[in-house]
Symmetry: C2
Subunit: 415 residues, 2 copies
């Protein structure tokens, strides 16, 4: 007697995958493994002193507000700060067009709840951010897949696909800047073309811009939202990569009518944004330190990227290719055909290096020889050594494949 | 040209109601209005010093962890603290059976995502917590409604309804302690009977226990979860009412297999629990101050409840009735038949007193002469004056109804 739980679960609960995102957040744990698997900013660069002072001030000046429920749409001074900052970045908005979210992952969930119905199509880059795919998958979306190259989403291909018959996609999920996982950036010409497609076919764009401020090379390209004359773009930003992910604060930007619906959905999801971290982050930002902090982080990330690219050049065998990002956190590697990055991971972990196999980033889960490497959270000497270890494993597997031998199948859990 | 947003919204987005919860969080804003409308703990009783010290320590000892992504299931020491505390309260659990949530509102959303499908039935108390109803409504549930009396949900009536033909409900949503909105508590005999019904019919119970520790009178009654021999109960708790709502931290307790599915759903919703507030709250709690803090709050709440009950006795006209809670935050008032609490609100606000009309708490929205009053966040002199003002309005409307006169219809926004 009692509850037969398995028989009661919804489809969403059955579909919800623990593994892909969880692995990202876990591999860092074994101390002797060099993890290139995370999606983390460098913790040693967090402005701890600024946070300490801000927390002290927030909890001294107005603890009754910092510890109380706050408005669901966000702490008004923080919304005003963000509206002002976005306006300086070319996205002219009022505070009423900014909704504070519990990290941009909640932004994805809110937009999915707003637009995605079972079986509808979502335009997804291939590869795309696994956390976005996981949300749309949970809402039972189908994908219209568009490959990514060095200039980002191949918008020309999307244009062709949209010429077909049948219902139009409900949403275009775009990561224009230093895309997770490839690090590639959408060119200006393609941005114009993508907006044009959105307007012509009446398809909203979700512009996920978690990394846009982390450009350490090349020229800034205007965001889709800043050029969005028809209000077809929902823009999404986050403090996670530019300040701290632990505060779980992101934002959605859209016209007021859209924000009102997103707010209605958010109310049911968590009632109120996090007062304490909003008060603290607002105080951190109101000192004017944010831009300087970001500038201070960039040289570290650039140096780490350089170390990674040099290591890959030196240690990966012929047939492997990889991206050369001008910002962000990641390099994307394509292994020689026939290698399976998921199979190879167990041996890599035995060699004390970890990465994220690319499969989960492919919307159709149809490509096994890719991997994502993170450079932002790893100091240069460890990147050098980590990529050397990775090179050994890839070379060994590559040669074994070439000679028809298969390496012994490894068990990740035994590693 | 451009996106026709209205045509693209999902049913959930259309259903998501901004107003009911939003009003709760808003009425407190006008400074000359005495608001009995909130659901807030008393901000002047927040342990601000403890938070300040904890924030200082968390950001000094290990800022890299406090500001970084953390495990989605929650900060391990906080899960261990909660498991230990729950075990002392009769709910024997391991840390692996505790999932930290972004407030218990996220717990509601997660459980709905786990179990609720379009058109399935959810057993709801009448009245019930508006935030729960709003979540289940968003997931298009139908309700099997069970009235609440002074001993909580009338479980005998549920038993009768479950005898009928047709599909069984997927979930029983129970608020056994100082239920929001009535403040009433489920008797021990009914608790046993409810568990028995759950086991016999295989229906899980969600035990929402946000207020259970705030008993300031009468004897403690064991939680459903503590007596749940068949693991049919998902238990939900929160720091909001016993420490601080601004930190947005709650917890779900269930057997590990159920927690695994809830975690899968949570990963898609927000990736990771809030590291900063978890580190801070863990440090606040690890000083051992929590039980003493709760004991320190109770006399204030008791005194405020007493003031409210005395005021209602004195100022409300014949025909009005109300609950006499032994804990929690709320008193529930039933006005004389024929009065409409929603209509009357505009005049009440002109008289500088606010409350929450009861309609939104009735699952079927079929009762208009009820209202929820909050006493926890209002000092005694304001409660006295607020209830006096309320009494004036109710008496006037009551007399007008008796004499066939209708008061002038007021516009809330003009007030």
């Amino acid at each position: 007697m009692g509850v037969n739980w398995e028989s009661l679960y919804t489809d969403s609960a059955r579909v919800a995958q623990v593994s892909p995102l969880r692995d990202l957040l876990r591999f860092g744990s074994a101390p002797d493994v060099i993890s290139l698997a995370g999606g983390f900013p460098a913790p040693e660069l967090f402005p701890a002193d600024a946070f300490r002072e801000a927390a002290e001030a927030a909890l001294t000046t107005d603890p009754g507000a910092a510890l109380q429920y706050g408005p669901a749409e966000g702490y008004p001074p923080l919304r005003a700060f963000l509206a002002d900052r976005l306006t300086h970045q070319g996205i002219s908005v009022s505070p009423e067009e900014v909704l504070i979210t519990n990290g941009s992952q909640q932004g994805l969930e809110l937009v999915a709840r707003l637009l995605v119905t079972r079986g509808c199509q979502v335009v997804a880059e291939d590869p795309s951010y696994v956390g976005g795919l996981s949300v749309f998958g949970c809402h039972h979306a189908d994908y219209m897949v568009v490959s990514v190259d060095g200039d980002g989403m191949q918008v020309e291909r999307l244009e062709e696909q949209l010429r077909g018959e049948g219902p139009k996609p409900k949403l275009i999920y775009a990561l224009p800047n230093f895309q997770n996982p490839t690090g590639n950036t959408l060119s200006l010409a393609r941005r114009h073309r993508l907006l044009d497609l959105s307007y012509r076919h009446g398809i909203p764009i979700l512009e996920d811009d978690a990394y846009g401020e982390l450009r350490f090379e090349g020229e800034h390209i205007p965001s889709l939202k800043s050029m969005d004359s028809e209000e077809s773009v929902i823009y999404m930003g986050s403090f996670s990569k530019i300040l701290s992910p632990g505060v779980r604060l992101g934002w959605l930007v859209a016209k007021e009518g859209v924000i009102a619906h997103l707010l209605g959905l958010k109310l049911g999801m968590d009632l109120s944004a996090n007062s304490l971290t909003q008060h603290v982050v607002y105080r951190v930002c109101s000192t004017g330190m944010l831009d300087g902090h970001i500038e201070g982080v960039k040289p570290f990330y650039r140096e780490r990227r350089d170390a990674m690219l040099r290591g890959l050049e030196r240690h990966l065998p012929a047939g492997a290719t990889w991206s050369r990002p001008e910002g962000g956190l990641f390099v994307w590697v394509r292994l020689p055909e026939g290698l399976d990055a998921e199979e190879m991971l167990a041996e890599a972990v035995r060699e004390k290096v970890a990465y994220v196999p690319g499969m989960a980033f492919h919307p159709l889960k149809d490509c096994s020889n890719t991997m994502r490497l993170n450079f932002s959270a790893v100091p240069v000497p460890k990147i050098r050594e980590g990529v050397r270890r990775l090179g050994r494993v890839v070379t060994r597997w590559s040669e074994a494949r070439g000679s028809g031998e298969l390496p012994l199948s490894g068990d990740l859990r035994a590693a």
